[in-house]
């Protein structure tokens, strides 16, 4: 058994393969394995580090995972600038070129469909963050109910607090729908990813929407303009709209397969 394995990045049309200058995961040279019309972009990794139990252990080492994730992404970004790609999930690993070719044969139809569907299209991410207090302030019911003491005043205060919370929740949901549908107007497909909490995102504000949009390449400027316009329109909610991309189409490569719920 060889002490090397093949790490796969993504699938590209066979005729589109050109040399990738970025080094691959763990420093391996990036190469292609071709079968018919499809090429898998791969690089060698050591079995010691990437097989079975050691892989599982390494995946739980954040520094290791970050390095590998960024190396994987760097290769895909370089490919993305040149051709259509079907990105593979992290840790798609084969024994050797034969194993990779067998996969290309087995998955030929789905991969070919995906490449056709994604040609000329780009995935962009858009996040909506607001200042939760300012959003709530725009919806707070007027009138100062029941400052007095006693049971009736207490109940009235509680009722008002509940109404305030509900109004804020409804306003947030309405805002997300407004922003998402304005962005979807430019997109062929869209998904909502789970909003990230502040510690994970490093962004200030409450993330209400973490969307991914599949666009025709000529719609990118329009999407950005819409995002800027929405940020301005909702400025009194403290809205920030953060656009990232183009991404390898991670969220749209799998076709109609249902996504895991958040």
């Amino acid at each position: 058994m060889s002490d090397r394995l093949l790490w796969a990045y993504g699938i590209v049309p066979a005729q589109a393969v050109s040399p990738v200058s970025a080094s691959g995961v763990a420093g391996g040279a990036v190469d292609a394995v071709t079968e018919g019309e499809l090429s898998a972009v791969v690089s060698e990794v050591s079995r010691d580090e990437f097989d079975g139990e050691s892989l599982r252990a390494n995946l739980n080492d954040l520094a290791w995972l970050e390095r590998v994730a960024r190396e994987h992404e760097r290769v895909l970004d370089e490919l993305l600038a040149q051709t259509t790609i079907v990105p593979l999930r992290l840790c798609t690993i084969f024994d050797d070129a034969d194993g990779t070719r067998q996969m290309l044969v087995r998955e030929c139809e789905a991969l070919t469909d995906a490449l056709t569907r994604l040609e000329g299209r780009q995935e962009w991410g858009v996040k909506l963050l607001v200042d939760g207090e300012r959003l709530a302030a725009t919806t707070a019911p007027g009138g100062d109910a029941a400052h007095g003491e006693g049971g009736a005043a207490y109940l009235a205060r509680r009722r008002q607090e509940r109404q305030t919370r509900e109004a804020a929740r409804n306003a947030a949901a309405q805002l997300v729908d407004d922003v998402d549908s304005a962005l979807r107007a430019h997109a062929l497909d869209a998904v909502r990813l789970p909003p990230q909490n502040r510690e994970l995102s490093g962004l200030s504000g409450d993330m209400l929407l973490n969307g991914a949009y599949l666009l025709d390449a000529d719609q990118v400027d329009a999407l950005r303009a819409t995002a800027d316009g929405l940020q301005e329109r909702y400025a009194d909610h403290g809205a920030q709209i953060v656009v990232t991309g183009p991404w390898p189409p991670y969220n749209f490569a799998a076709g109609e397969a249902p996504r895991q719920p958040a």
């Binding site: 394995l5 954040l62 990230q196 510690e199 994970l200 490093g202 953060v242 990232t244 991670y250 895991q260």
Partner: protein, 60 residues
């Protein structure tokens, strides 16, 4: 203001959300089941958030 990936470092959480949560899932020869990856993803979210907290501490 909106900005592109090229203009900023890609946040690790954005990357992992896509690399672990998206992408085509194809059975490789080295089997790491979808469940394994999902478990990693869940434990990582906890891990990253605790790293975030560590970084907020004043420098030693």
């Amino acid at each position: 203001m909106s900005s592109t990936i090229a203009e900023q470092d890609v946040a690790l959480v954005d990357l992992l959300d896509r690399l672990l949560g998206g992408g085509v899932v194809i059975a490789g020869d080295i089997t790491l089941s979808v469940a394994d990856v999902d478990l990693v993803h869940i434990s990582l979210r906890a891990l990253i958030s605790s790293v975030g907290k560590l970084e907020e501490r004043p420098p030693r």
